[in-house]
Amino acid sequence: MKPALIISAGTCGLARGAGEIVKAAQDYQSKRRLQQKFDIIITGCHGFCEAETNVVVHVDGKQIFYQKLRPENVKDVIEKTLLREEIINNFLWSDPKTQQVYVYIDDIPFYRKQKRILLGNNLHVKPECIEDYVKLGGYSALNKALKEYQPKRVINLIKESGLRGRGGAGFPTGKKWELCRKMKSSVKYIVCNADEGDPGAYMDRSLLEGNPHSVIEGMIIGAYAIGAREGIIYVRNEYPLAVKNIEIAIKQARKRGLLGENILGSKFSFDITIVRGAGAFVCGEETALLISIEGRVGRPRPRPPYPVEKGLWGKPTNINNVETWANIPAIILRGAQWFSSIGTEGSKGTKIFSLVGKINNTGLVEVPMGITLREIIYDIGGGIPAGKKFKAVQTGGPSGGCIPSELLDLPIDYESLTEAGSMMGSGGMIVMDEDTCMVDVARYFLNFTQQESCGKCPPCRLGTKDMVQILNRISRGEGREGDIELLENIGGNVKRGSLCGLGQTAPHPVLTTIKYFRDEYLAHIKEQRCPALVCTALISYVIDPELCGGCTICAKNCPSNAISGEPKKVYAIDQAKCIKCGICVSVCPDKFRAVKKVSPALT
């Protein structure tokens, strides 16, 4: 392979300025007529968000990883590294903890412990270029399936592999396909669920942007196995780049006879259309999604009948998540045994998580099932920034649960997460440090699900609203005796009484924070104290007279003139005037750090 500059240009990379990097590189290349010397490869996301905008310099079979580049650095990178194989230390990634510097991408701890079966190819394919995908063995799985396997055999393979749905509930994929295949109907549909509504989750986007053909190939194989002629990718309109890349990919696949009539000369015909969703969280729920495709307002309906029995337009419909589909080609090519050798007893293969929050290495991580939370957070994620202590991790998106530090050694699979009161969900993972108030967190997530509730069934529509109100009053210091029990009671009933998965899981953040951090709730209710010093109503800002240097900066910056004192002497905050904006904390010079938060609030 020719030397190449591989630029990470997914949506997040572009937001950080990857577009300018690309332009700088292309300008330089054409000005110097270096087209023969090296390639510029614009790929989807490389997964390491913290290091955006990053590039991988491919020279001499090695892959050098540069992070946080700016357009003016591009010239150096090309001249020195690409053309002369010189390493530029300044651009290398260094571990914030150990200060150790890494040159090659494979050595970086963030990548080293991952198993990037799905995401790995993001580094090697230009998303709009089917040839790249084919070069890496793309569509040979389809060829194999069509030529060598009967549909039944494909389903058996998927069943043997132990693949479970990556969209949330973890339903065995092979079994779902089989159910759909067995339905008697001349028309069947398959759907790819790319709604991805969890805040902070973007693995599906990254797959569709970076490697759309892998999803399409998975869908074609699935359609062949199930006996569907039409497929739909339901993707939210907020993912314009993903939409664009799938559109291109579908066109290319049609051109090559991979979609359309008589695929690869077989008797099997299949095509895919894209439906764009308006971006409601609840439209990720499968029945709401189907109704939305039909052009009506996305509101879930009770199951059974399940979509495999009565789905789109009343016909049997098989829905799978983007990541589920993307796993299919690999399973067909490498075999069920290979796949089921990865992971745990009940959960096979890898899972992509979006690791965000108070963590050093934010990014998309693909890990084998069964890895522990500790490994993800400390080894891959690089631990908590600024020397703070880990407090909890929220898995499974807004309707998942908070898992405390005691459970850091929990192996990650569907069952153990559920047992801990949380869930796999679609793979969001939000890390929280000691400065996080668990009441506040629960309130935040519940507020989200409450607003995203479709409003159809009373337990979810009204139960979550009541819970939010109780949480609001607790965080205002107006919590009542018995509120915790009331929350548990309502939460339990909402879980059992709601129509769809949204309501059935919405109370998780509250129930798990109560389960693992009951003391914090009690402190709010009984002592009007917020131990993490977050809930505004329960804290006060005070100036420590021992530390105050009398520099006057805080007094000058206070928007409400609440701080007074004489220069060079100790300053004080008038609690009656203080509006708790926290500006004084941020402006107090590091050498003093005299402004402190205390709880309960001073009166």
Binding site: G455, P458, P459, R461, D466, G497
Partner: protein, 731 residues
């Protein structure tokens, strides 16, 4: 056949049947709220949840298809808890003082007489008290308190539309009204707004219903389990005590209705009887029966003054006059009365040698419309007829009969709700509707002057080729349509009993009688002709006063105050019932004829009426505008009539639906002549000269005006006219 267990009992189910339906069949009670037998299951309220052995969570039984071997439990402590929780939550959003007050029982005692007290008294703030499904559920689930904070939505009550009001503070979002309006009525006026805790029901952009596709059928009101949707009339009436199953005689469909009577024998409301009805039957009957302008005592002119008289005096006078004018009496009658009364009328006319006529346009033999005939996959080609306004229950029956596969094509130069919902709407130039039909069937002249493009016509022809085609039209304003033999034409007569009158025949049209020189006594029964000359005696028999002078007035009853039968468009004989006593001293028509024959001393019962001339079809002329008469006048029948009175002149609500007594003017004509709404204008043609108030409408084609005709206007067909302005804006 599927076998499953419900509460330990072995039950059998049909394929596709839900567990709820099976349970109901076996008399196992499961509480429900969003479920309604006429609507598709929704599964939203979560009250009908049941437990299934081996399933992790309870499921809604109203949507759960029965499956072989299911073991269902409908009443467990968990279910009771969850149902209670859910209902308590629902009530945390629904004013509930009436539901859980600890004095509920004592209070109930005082509620009956509440009309006599100010409405703020006690807990009588809900229009639906005693008539609310929540009350039943609260009792069943033994709810005594609501542990949650109360959220009041603080919405304005929507009072700006006619007939019914909407207080969405009481709405529990069961979605029944939404499904009724969308699935059953096809009106799609109501839907959900927003989501989550802000979810609301209403029209798009919260527009008034008058500005939406609402048919004011009231079907939504009738399925609402709470007081959120309420009929305006009778909102504060006492609860009805009994219902009388009767027939609505306001149009030729003759829908079955329930007449609901309170403990004092007063009619409170008229509601559908497991069927779909229209705004006339749902909201028109009660206010008409108790109308302030209704005359309920006989009147006679004495010394040029109208005075109240006793029936005997009035009837002897009328009998003597009829006797005197034997052979010279013109008897005009409407079709509102019972068949029995009609037959008596014919015998009376035979005896007195009256010339008789009814304001009907009868085309052909007057054959009944047989719904069973319609096949699946039909195309209904409807010409110049707004089936939503005039025949909505029939339209729903047609659709049901021909299943989903039917296609509706409308040919109409006017835009209305029906043209908007049709599968295909062909809008020819005014007056070119029949040419369009001929072209579609490849008949008539070849040149296309309809204004419809060749492509559209071809597309339409393609549809017609493949299916069974039925042409539906209203003979009052459509000539007989020229179609091939394979196509059925079905006239839609708008007035009840038309088939009976076809059978009995008449002596010509109303106009023929009015023009007859020899006639010097006019007897108008439930019809208001446009008089063209003076008469020696004018006798009026009606519920409401006529707009012309008369000598005697005989007050008749409406169809809810008498018994007998009527015959509808399908040829079905249906019963009208005496649900209430005649208002005031009014009397049924057949009683009047009976008494009259007694005074005239002949036996009305024995004779069969003489057979009269049958056909009554008219010649329709082409419009042909000229310099003198430059504007196209389109004429449509006003099908909202009773005893010769447009409902819109009797009831404000109907006037707001559509001002039927106005001259409707297209925007361009109005602009040219500087005419604004409510100005008085004169319409002049070779045949007519009328003064009307104006209404400007953008639903009319260019250069046209429109009249909704009824006998008193006497404008029976399209023609070229001239418009003159009389006054500046009035009112």
């Amino acid at each position: 056949m599927i076998e499953l267990m419900i509460d330990g009992k072995k039950v059998t189910a049909q394929k596709g049947e839900t567990v709820l339906k099976v349970a109901q069949r076996y008399n196992i009670y499961i509480p429900t709220l969003c479920y309604h037998k006429d609507l598709s299951p929704y599964g939203g309220c979560r009250l009908c949840i049941v437990e299934v052995e081996g399933w992790p969570l309870p499921v809604a039984s109203c949507t759960l298809p029965a499956q072989e071997g299911l073991k269902v439990k409908t009443d467990t402590p968990l279910l009771k808890d969850l149902r209670r929780f859910t209902l308590q939550l629902i009530l945390s959003e629904h004013p509930h003082a009436c539901l859980i007050c600890d004095r509920k029982e004592d209070c109930a005692h005082y509620m009956e007489c509440i009309q006599k007290a100010p409405i703020t008294f006690g807990c009588k703030f809900c229009p639906s008290n005693n008539d609310c499904e929540l009350q039943t559920l609260v009792d069943y689930l033994e709810i005594k308190d609501i542990p949650f904070d109360f959220h009041y939505r603080s919405l304005m009550v929507e009072r700006y539309d006619p007939f019914f009001e909407r207080d969405y503070n009481l709405c529990i979002l069961c979605g029944r009204c939404v499904r009724m309006c969308q699935e059953v009525r096809g009106a799609a006026t109501l839907d959900f707004h927003h989501r989550g805790p802000d979810t609301l029901v209403g029209t798009a952009f919260r527009l008034p219903h008058l500005e939406t596709g609402c048919q004011f059928c009231g079907a939504c009101v009738d399925v609402c389990p709470t007081g959120a949707l309420r009929e305006r009339y009778g909102k504060w009436q006492a609860k009805s005590e009994k219902s009388v199953r009767a027939t609505c005689a306001l149009c030729n469909i003759g829908c079955s209705i329930n007449l609901n009577i309170d403990s004092e024998g007063k009619l409170v409301s008229s509601t559908p009887d497991n069927n779909q009805i229209c705004v006339r039957g749902r909201f028109g009957i009660v206010p008409m029966v108790y109308h302030a302008r209704r005359l309920t005592r006989p009147l006679m002119k004495k010394d040029n003054r109208l005075v109240e008289v006793e029936w005997e005096e009035a009837l002897s006078y009328v009998a003597s006059k009829l006797d005197e004018h034997r052979g010279k009496t013109g008897l005009l009658f409407g079709s509102h009365m019972t068949i029995e009364a009609l037959e008596s009328l014919y015998r009376l006319a035979d005896d007195l040698r009256c010339s008789i006529a009814a304001p009907l346009d009868i085309d052909g033999k007057g054959e009944p419309l047989k719904l069973e005939e319609f096949k699946d996959e039909s195309v209904f080609l409807v010409v110049n007829t707004d089936m939503i306004r005039d025949f909505s229950p029939l339209l729903l029956m047609l659709r049901m009969q021909s299943k989903i596969q039917s296609t509706i094509i409308v040919i109409d130069s006017l835009e209305n709700k029906f043209t908007n919902m049709a599968d295909l709407w062909l809008q020819p130039k005014p007056g070119k509707e029949f040419e369009t039909v001929s072209l579609l069937f490849g008949r008539g002249k070849k040149r296309n002057t309809t204004g419809i493009s060749h492509e559209t016509l071809e597309r339409c022809k393609d549809i017609l080729k493949k299916r069974n085609v039925y042409v539906l039209y209203n003979p009052a304003h459509s000539r007989r349509i020229d179609v091939p033999k394979s196509v059925r034409t079905l006239p839609l007569y708008s007035s009840i009993n038309t088939l009976k009158i076809c059978e009995l025949g008449t002596d010509g049209s109303v106009d023929d009688i009015l023009k007859k020189k020899t006639i010097d006594c006019l007897y108008a029964i439930g019809v208001l002709p446009r008089l063209q000359k003076g008469y020696k005696t004018v006798i009026v028999q009606n519920c409401f006063p006529p707009p012309f002078e008369f000598d005697v007035f005989l007050p008749t009853v409406t169809f809810v105050e008498t018994r007998g039968s009527v015959i509808n468009i399908e040829g079905k004989v249906k019963k009208v019932r005496r649900a209430i006593d005649p208002v005031g001293k009014s009397k049924p028509d057949d009683w009047i004829f009976q008494r009259m024959s007694e005074i005239l001393k002949y036996d009305i019962k024995r004779r069969r009426p003489r057979q009269r001339k049958k056909k009554l079809s008219r010649v329709f002329e082409d419009m042909g505008t000229s310099k003198k008469y430059p504007v196209n006048l389109l004429v449509r029948e006003n099908c909202y009539m009773y005893q010769g009175h447009p409902l819109s002149s009797l009831m404000k609500g109907f006037q707001r639906l559509r001002d039927d007594t106005a001259l409707w003017i297209s925007v361009d004509v109005a602009k040219k002549l500087r005419i604004k709404d409510n100005m008085h204008v004169r319409v002049i043609s070779r045949n007519i000269n009328l003064e009307l108030h104006a209404r400007v409408s953008d639903n009319l084609p260019e250069n046209s005006v429109l009249i909704y005709n009824h006998p008193f206007l006497g404008v029976d067909q399209n023609q070229a006219v001239r418009i003159e302005c009389i006054t500046k804006e009035t009112r």
